[in-house]
Symmetry: C2
Subunit: 204 residues, 2 copies
Amino acid sequence: MTDAADVKGKESYHHGDLRAALLVAGEAVLAETGVEGFSLRQVAKRVGVSHSAPAHHFGDTQGLLSALAAEGFRRFLAAMLARQAEAPDDPREQMLAQAVGYLDFAESAPALFRLMFGSDRIWPSTPELAEAGRAAYRNLTDGVARLRGLAPDDPAALPDVVACWSVAHGFAHLVIGRRMEPVQGLSRDEREALLRQAVAKVLD
Amino acid sequence: MTDAADVKGKESYHHGDLRAALLVAGEAVLAETGVEGFSLRQVAKRVGVSHSAPAHHFGDTQGLLSALAAEGFRRFLAAMLARQAEAPDDPREQMLAQAVGYLDFAESAPALFRLMFGSDRIWPSTPELAEAGRAAYRNLTDGVARLRGLAPDDPAALPDVVACWSVAHGFAHLVIGRRMEPVQGLSRDEREALLRQAVAKVLD
DNA sequence: TGTACATCAGTGAACGCGCGTTCACTGATGTAC
DNA sequence: TGTACATCAGTGAACGCGCGTTCACTGATGTAC
């Protein structure tokens, strides 16, 4: 029942896949303490490993947080694609599904979401992180371009891209920050409906 | 030229208005280190006062941060009203001006903005803080109600309120987080124009 | 198949640091008489 | 007007804590011959 029990297979001196285990534990610590209280020592403790072990894999706190953020962007994109996959293959419906996936991710991992979009404790220019973020962004621009009948990189799509992104991001951020009082009391379905309405206003 | 020189009139034992001085210094520390690195000791040092003095006025870090956030909400509202005052007295123009004021504030005090909307290091239920936030929110609902010809507290305004708030908030948050790449390179005027376009999409 | 050796992965003690909190204190101010 | 005293505001030493970083180490693994 100790923290060490969270991770299996540590009878031997070598861990096996400490890097992956640190990422899992790192996300749990992030969720519990927020970015503000995050420390490498807590992560090491949770994995049941010496506190100097993480440095071996990630250098320092920013290194681990950047890796977590990169992983986060990949799951972020996956969450949007999952909603899109079960939505009708219509440009407008695809955009709405994308927004709902945006919210899914933010609600499922609020601390990670804030780390990705609001923290100074990561290096946004890390290649892995930059690429993961770009992939998510490309999904958005592709969706808007398709809806408007433009080429994928036509700058004429920018105003719509910015508007869609802003509304989904603002909604998600206000919800997880519990700063949008009238929405706090609603059910998940009602929140989702409000988000769809808001995005629809932008698209139509 | 020491930090203590930032604040005048401390020849005497008693400071005079330490509470106010701590708020000023607190905001400077917040801007420099972000919420993540914020500490009472740094604030005390900047004012040139013993590190145990702040406790006298604010209890602990959360108390000072909550006071800063409350002050932030009042300035946030003031920033929106300032833009509204110089805009035509037309419901739609007033809403656009409000959004631009939203961005003004976020860009002028990004760390404070994040503290107000995204941090767990404040108590959102502090009376002073809750009231300041509510006042800003009321300005938004009044604007939407006026635009739609509804009573100020008609729940039918909710979808529009949420949509406007989300788009302004998301835009501002993405800009100050430097996470909206295509917008980073633009001038202040171009960013403002993009925001106005985005809000207009919601309103029309 | 067996041995020697290099490399890799994780250990654990030690360090210095900045933090929040506590507490007995002292200087300044205001009030009662 | 003057004195005594209570209250308030800020001091500074001390404490224990968790942190990141360093470093000599040791156990495990893989490879060369």
